[in-house]
Symmetry: C2
DNA sequence: AACTCGAATGAAAACGTTTACATTCATCTT
DNA sequence: AAGATGAATGTAAACGTTTTCATTCGAGTT
């Protein structure tokens, strides 16, 4: 049987209360007994039981991160940001992913009760009705990229609209008029906002560009297909703005196969600035989302909500994006990677 | 105050015992009372408290993954594999990372007591002495890529040695004799094993190649530096085998800058098969590690150890690697990506 | 009709902590 | 010297579950 606080108390010849006090660094314990207790604890390899502690203190020192997926560069970076901020505060991280249907998501949320002090939640199911039924009551929660705030939780989004708007503007300012767009999945909020940013930026060009607005699903293959379709159109678009980098990558290989030069024959831009973007040839112009910072910020807000439960935390917060202009959209800056061109904070040192 | 099982009992007019039984699907509860209880629970939005439940059942339905880092393609993929296998079994995942020093790692391990049913452990500190002191006693644990098994825990490794050996052989078989190697960090076990595989495969060529064995740290920049140094040597190496793909990437840009063609002037190979590898120009020959599978396998073994605590689980298990020959090492297979050349199962559908 | 049996239910202990409160005891005040 | 003070320590309740064991009660057996 595992060694408990009682065993330590017995070994040190004191009560469990004193052991608890000593171990938690309370000051009202004599130097002498403190030493005795610590020695006994060390000797017995005592480790406090987290469940028991959580039960009585109502604190778990853990935050839950419920994400739609753990897959790929985006979530890796997101988790990294969350983890960074969490461990800076001595918090553990309980991750959960892939809730295909609402029932599964509901079960996950309910299972969080008593296991976490707060929740970071990113899921398509996060509407007000769903949350009010399935979110453990009084559990501080931060919504990430949810459809819209439910009015009672902190709420963070990436400025997808602004980023797409800025990139579209940039392409227009570069002189392109027929600017194609490759959309993301229709039910994806990021995708919707990026599309909206693109359309709104177009202004007078909107009607002219509408035929060039292609479907896509964020996967490389759909970018490839869209590019093939675009190459077949007359007049051909002068620039292609893909709603994410993976689709831009698909475009690029379609262009390469067809012998179409980027950016000379056609300009290309993506969204996300995944690690690969700067290594592509030509290097990909894109919209950088500081995902790790996004995660950090979300956690910071969550901790704030945990520490001040009585305040109102329902405010929305938008994470800015930044334009990263490399060579694929053709302004002529053939920037060498080892010269300018800040590296993305990703792709680590492990194998 | 949060609603507890008592509130449900009161509302349904039964004892807490019956509520517990009903909620856990025991069969010895009348149809009628079952309905009453379920309705009361639904109505009150009752969610069981995980801590309380864990305390009494001694099960948390959670497994801990203690990793050196969460950063980059490798860990993203690893976590994905672990998560996949975990959620298939209804287990939650508590992740923890970045233990720069042994003390921090120790604290993390100790904090797992009572929070997890088992531990997946990947850390340079995992030697027998450290574990015996800091691992919660009787906590099922699977060591991943640890220096060596401590004789009492399940132990998984990637076949770094075999992979490096095979790639080196392949380069030799392709006719190269002066084969350079770029090492990983000296204290990294993967790096050591890859170096060993390289050296052992060389055989008679070992002495000749020794000057071409360059230091590195798994980062792109060190690959770049190593490549510059190699280009300055006479005679120049005919092939460069980098201990991971990121360093190979660094090599490639050094070669590009110097106008040295790959593979015509010099062959190049990496290790890991990160998502980027197949998109490089030329596409990178490398050693594929099925990281997600590695994670899945580790979790499967852990679950086995949890479910059969009395069996012996100290056996070692080696995950095989596979050679992925693309164009960078010059056998002439200018394989198009959209033709053959299986995609790596990574880089997801989210932005 | 008395008795046995088994199923449904309830009472209470247990899990391993923390902490409010009570107790002890040395020291200080008068 | 007696009482007040306050620090160190101990006792026991509490956290929210599950589960053992006892109890009740109706149905079946004789």
């Amino acid at each position: 049987m595992a060694v408990t606080i009682k065993d330590v108390a017995k070994a040190a010849g004191v009560s469990v209360a004193s052991v608890s006090r000593a171990l938690n660094g309370h000051d009202n314990v004599t130097r002498d007994t403190y030493e005795r207790i610590m020695q006994a604890a060390r000797q017995l390899h005592y480790m406090p039981n987290g469940a028991a502690r959580s039960l009585i203190t109502r604190r778990t020192q853990t935050i839950g991160a419920v994400l739609p997926d753990l897959h790929g560069a985006f979530f890796s970076e997101l988790i990294r940001g969350i983890d960074l901020a969490a461990r800076a505060r001595g918090l553990h991280l309980l991750v959960s992913s892939s809730h295909d249907n609402a029932d599964e998501a509901a079960a996950t949320l309910r299972a969080m009760r008593g296991r976490v002090d707060g929740l970071l939640l990113m899921t398509p199911h996060a509407n007000a009705g769903f949350l009010s039924v399935n979110l453990p009551p009084a559990l501080p929660t931060v919504l990430m990229n949810a459809g819209s705030g439910d009015g009672s939780h902190a709420w963070l989004t990436v400025d997808n609209h602004g980023g797409a708007h800025a990139m579209t503007r940039h392409l227009m300012d570069s002189g392109y008029r027929r600017i194609a767009f490759i959309r993301g999945p229709d039910n994806n909020l990021d995708a919707q906002e990026r599309l909206r940013g693109y359309r709104e930026a177009l202004g007078d060009l909107a009607a002219e560009c509408e035929p060039y607005c292609m479907p896509g699903d964020f996967l490389e293959s759909s970018g490839y297909r869209a590019a093939r379709a675009l190459l077949g159109m007359t007049p051909r678009p002068q620039a292609v703005f893909a709603a994410n980098d993976m689709m831009a990558l698909g475009c690029l290989s379609a262009f390469n196969e067809a012998g179409v030069k980027v950016p000379a024959d056609i300009a290309l831009a993506g969204f996300d600035d995944i690690p690969m973007a700067r290594f592509m040839t030509p290097s990909l112009s894109t919209v950088r989302v500081r995902i790790a910072e996004f995660g950090e910020r979300a956690l910071a807000r969550l901790v704030d909500a945990i520490e001040h439960p009585d305040d109102v935390h329902a405010a929305e917060e938008v994470m800015p994006t930044e334009l990263v202009i490399r060579t694929s959209c053709g302004v002529g800056t053939t920037s060498s990677r080892h010269a300018g061109n800040a590296p993305t904070p990703t792709e680590g040192r492990h194998p």
